[in-house]
Symmetry: D2
Subunit: 410 residues, 4 copies
Amino acid sequence: MATIKDSVHDHIEVTGVARALLDTPAVQRLRRITQLGTAVLVYPSANHTRFEHSIGVYHLADRALAHLGVEGQRAKRVRAAALLHDIGHPPYSHNIEELLHRETGKYHDEVHGLLETGPVATALTDHDLEPDRVADLIAGEGPLGALVSGELDVDRMDYLVRDAHHTGVPYGTIDHGRLIRALRLIDGELVLGEGNVQTAESLLVSRALMNPTVYAHHVARIAKAMLRRASERLLAADAVDAHTLRRMDDYGLRTALRECDTTREYARRLDTRRLYKRAVWAEFDTVPDRLRGADHDRIRTLEREVAEAADVEETEVIVDSPPEPSMTETTSRVLVNGEIRQLGEQSTLVGALRRAQRDHWRFGVYAPAATRDRVGDAAVRELGIDQQGAIVQEDSQGINATLGAFTDRA
Amino acid sequence: MATIKDSVHDHIEVTGVARALLDTPAVQRLRRITQLGTAVLVYPSANHTRFEHSIGVYHLADRALAHLGVEGQRAKRVRAAALLHDIGHPPYSHNIEELLHRETGKYHDEVHGLLETGPVATALTDHDLEPDRVADLIAGEGPLGALVSGELDVDRMDYLVRDAHHTGVPYGTIDHGRLIRALRLIDGELVLGEGNVQTAESLLVSRALMNPTVYAHHVARIAKAMLRRASERLLAADAVDAHTLRRMDDYGLRTALRECDTTREYARRLDTRRLYKRAVWAEFDTVPDRLRGADHDRIRTLEREVAEAADVEETEVIVDSPPEPSMTETTSRVLVNGEIRQLGEQSTLVGALRRAQRDHWRFGVYAPAATRDRVGDAAVRELGIDQQGAIVQEDSQGINATLGAFTDRA
Amino acid sequence: MATIKDSVHDHIEVTGVARALLDTPAVQRLRRITQLGTAVLVYPSANHTRFEHSIGVYHLADRALAHLGVEGQRAKRVRAAALLHDIGHPPYSHNIEELLHRETGKYHDEVHGLLETGPVATALTDHDLEPDRVADLIAGEGPLGALVSGELDVDRMDYLVRDAHHTGVPYGTIDHGRLIRALRLIDGELVLGEGNVQTAESLLVSRALMNPTVYAHHVARIAKAMLRRASERLLAADAVDAHTLRRMDDYGLRTALRECDTTREYARRLDTRRLYKRAVWAEFDTVPDRLRGADHDRIRTLEREVAEAADVEETEVIVDSPPEPSMTETTSRVLVNGEIRQLGEQSTLVGALRRAQRDHWRFGVYAPAATRDRVGDAAVRELGIDQQGAIVQEDSQGINATLGAFTDRA
Amino acid sequence: MATIKDSVHDHIEVTGVARALLDTPAVQRLRRITQLGTAVLVYPSANHTRFEHSIGVYHLADRALAHLGVEGQRAKRVRAAALLHDIGHPPYSHNIEELLHRETGKYHDEVHGLLETGPVATALTDHDLEPDRVADLIAGEGPLGALVSGELDVDRMDYLVRDAHHTGVPYGTIDHGRLIRALRLIDGELVLGEGNVQTAESLLVSRALMNPTVYAHHVARIAKAMLRRASERLLAADAVDAHTLRRMDDYGLRTALRECDTTREYARRLDTRRLYKRAVWAEFDTVPDRLRGADHDRIRTLEREVAEAADVEETEVIVDSPPEPSMTETTSRVLVNGEIRQLGEQSTLVGALRRAQRDHWRFGVYAPAATRDRVGDAAVRELGIDQQGAIVQEDSQGINATLGAFTDRA
């Protein structure tokens, strides 16, 4: 047994297969993958990593299994999956995940290949666990897969609290002890027990508040877009291939960007925080339908058109268009008067949270400070955006703008 | 100057008129008025008082005034109002406020009379402040009154964080530093600056989550109803008069209840936590309109009818019917693209919070454990409640039921 | 099972005999005994009670027993003792303990009599526990008694962290999780395992820092002396007898002091924080040997002499002389290179802490503000104190003086 | 003005020259220098950086200056020094500082050269500050230099609290608000005001507890020794020169070690946490005088001798011999009865802390797990160490051993 001191959950005991896994290079690599990627450029204390998060998720999974009375091999498998759930992450976590999906066909939670061979596979089979079934859990399959990856999973319970601790933004401070105590396994389905509609609401509300404040803060989004664009060019320059990139760590990618001719300028900007600024920052209703969630090739075309219209280098325009907010019903289940019900039906708030995602959706066009205004004008014109909604109103004292406000408007 | 060490805001400097006021009997009395009254029977650590809360509100008001650039007499007046804003509270804070309003015509924030004479008046006039204008601020009048008592007031900012610290329920952990930095005085109106729709949302969400979990927890409501009923009997027995009761502290009221023949049993039950149980706990739509928010006399009549139908003593039935949730628009204002707008218009979430209050509204009938079932049946029948919605489903592991689950169902 | 939400340890599960005990009047009474008594007059947030502390001690005992592998009846007995360890406390905890010992012959941890009959005895015997053996554990007997009451007990681990949380003074923030994990039962003796000399040091250092800052802060000591003197007069006036006083709660004692003619003035002063001031505050070496730890009768004589010399009422002089700091070796044991050793031998720091107690020892004489100087001069003269060491140097910005600095020098 | 959200001090306002400095590459580089270097291999959450620490030190300096009433250019200069105080740190902070001192003649706080030219110099002179005088403050010169770098400096106040927050070890949780309020400038000297002997003690005690638990934890020391040795070989291989190394960041050094033939194995071991183990871990009195604090050349000779005697490669032996603990008196000054006194004279505890440093001093010899025993035997024999004191006693449950216990003994 090893006891680990964690800044969030205090002492965590790691035993059995988990202890063997902890010593593998694949898990140790997570020490060098930051949890929030470029959000550290907004919240300077947010240097925490996927490693400590993975240990935290393992810990909460262990607590949840004890509470649910799940034991033996089944529990061991879930604990292994919890510790390993993030080993598929590329450098800077989600920041370049889409890029790698285009290139390798894999998202971070598709890890069957990573568990098949090497020290991780050895550790698992030494403890009588089949790698494939562990990978299935990481992909969220089965009732206990929902505990590892689902709407009420321990992954989310850990990251909300941990991100709050390290950013200093209190919105993520949920009551994970209560959530875990509210879990029930009923007819092979993971639900929240009687009297816990509000417990479920609190988790969703917390995430809804952390999202625009931390995860999708405009400065984090700008830096993420720059990192993504730089990584694309790194691949294009054959400086590294996609499969290697997927297994690098933050150190490796950052150094590679510094050393490659076509990415050096991006690296320098990220290192010194001389980020692009918002030339356009447009609300949902002000953006033509065809722009929302446009695919990669379409985006590149748009960037070229805007660059040409603004008479700037193509590298000086980045278009950032998130997909439309999903309107899918939450699949969380909760016991009400003895019946298992959809959370969305029971909670006025949950329905509203879904709709409120549109309030915070933004379409962005970014450019260096010097050409920002020119690019903004060209983009509004070329892309057919309603000028009114594209204005970036800055409030010099707004904390949202934090470090983002340094050079000029951000 | 005095420096006070506070468990929430750390060091607080108290100067000038505030320091003089701190030494008055009226303010020192707040040391013996608990902030949450009977909620301590649910959350045993919640023994904090109106005294430390008042110092916290003074501190946040001071920070807000510095941020807004308000100085001189005007600022001094607001600081005095912040420190004094709760001196009108009777023992156990809100628990017997309605009762005292019926008897004395005053709510806790109507304090003109309390500031007119005595050491508080002396301290104010010694510092060139007019007691009446301070009392006006406490009643929420004027733009700076909104800072002391309004939807974005520092009172709420303090109590949410303080109640979270002392109950252990994290939902109240708002970002008061950000809220204060977001405040603006524009054309004499207190608004939140640009980019702060979500800052405002976070305050309202926090309160919406604390409400059912802490302030309106069913065990707190039962004990509050018992305390209220006991206090009514104390007045009826002429053991104390309403004006004296209003100025007592928790110690005095509790001891008085122990000593009076007609209230001794209530005191004993509160002291040993042998509380009444829920005989009926009905959702909004299952209760006939006429029952919702029924007035005091009507309630007493209902109690007598139910007691008679159940064949129990009249004292063994307590009907607890909160008013219908207010559907009034929030009056908070926020700057959006340079315009002052209603928060409700800007935020999908805020509208939903208003509607969601109904989800948590409950009509209760309480009775001693021994007669609870009989009273429940009689009440459903006599009062015309839909039996389905009146069922109390208990989940033995639910934390909502916490200490409430002790004797039987709660 | 009940789950209790605690501000310090978060969720605490209470089961079996502990749950039965929690519902007894003797344990519920602890809700109305403040943990730190008069220290709340220095740290206004410190309103926490023996009730929540007792639940915390129960929780840590439960964790320690699980860690040590102690199970069955033996463990059940310790858990019961942990929950009950403070039920012998009179109102205001330690503040009037010496007085009650003189009158009843009992200290707060001598509870055999309190466990013999009534609901507590019933709960214990219902769970096959003998009240006498539980009382023995509370008195610290046996190896597991050391866990409940000893130098490394869970009582201390809880109160240090809890007092830090509620006063805001961080010195008490120890690492209780590590201390508990370091416990070993070796040959029937409770020791700290290999590599934990420093873990033990940290507990003793924490207490050494909390002591002068919180527990023996001069304002707390003055108020405690006034409360003690008032309680003596209450007994002398036959307003209440010692055995009744021992079983009252803070509310009852405070109200009794308000209602009795010879104690009313003390009650008024405590209620409004118009405390006596330090007329003398002398270091260890400046006080004649015979004064240090003088017994009750001797103290009363000294007070009369000083009062006469100063020409004031006898009630206007309070002499407060703590016993000499104990120079007994700490009895904590720790494993070093496979041997059980005395902590004092292993740790340079622990020896120093013992000696350092003298640095903080103070002899006090207190009087009302108006007669303080006169009483101070008379006391120095009459009692033979070195005038140099008796000077009270105040630093207007010192936080030690906090609220104590209000009226004049404190 | 910019407002930064910090996980320790919450909102920090950065204005004037500090804001200009924040945007310089030299300060932004600190985002990629971890505060605790290899200690993250013991405490996985300790990924915080010199950047956030520097902002924290700036904040505390600003608070201290306001408290001391220092204004104008003098205050501006101190604020700049506070923000810049760590820009001289090489990658991994103190871990390779000695190595770089041998090569470049500079310690991290000798920064005159770094402030003379470039964007930092521009930012300073733009705000009428002379770079040299700022560098003097960073070197601790003058009364206000003591605030930036001295025994009571704000540097220490920040790092203790910050390291506690991020490691989860509570010992560092000092009361910085109180320390700052206790500061006085008397006759050009920085002292602690009346009544603050214990405030000073608490800072020294906190550091004394953090030291063996965090900063000098044996696993951190082993990894640090490996990193130092690897960096020496990197320089020896001419892969990088010392002046370049000094200005690299953690990413750059780590990647360089991976890429150089003679350091690749060290990099691989650090990346996968396959650290050397303790072959010898000897107490102060068991080590011959000549070994303690031996200089670099001497150490290399010893390593060669031990390697030869054990018949292993020279790279498989690392000798780690810290200098003897300094017995210099603390220079902190504190006001006692109106006189400025040496803290050491006033406090029994402070003297003991100095002596107690020897209790925790250890001489180490490290080797790969496979050859550890052989190297240990050879080292004890060759170096003349008392075998008794060199034994590494491990307690499998000890948290000190945390992750260090993974492969075998650590």
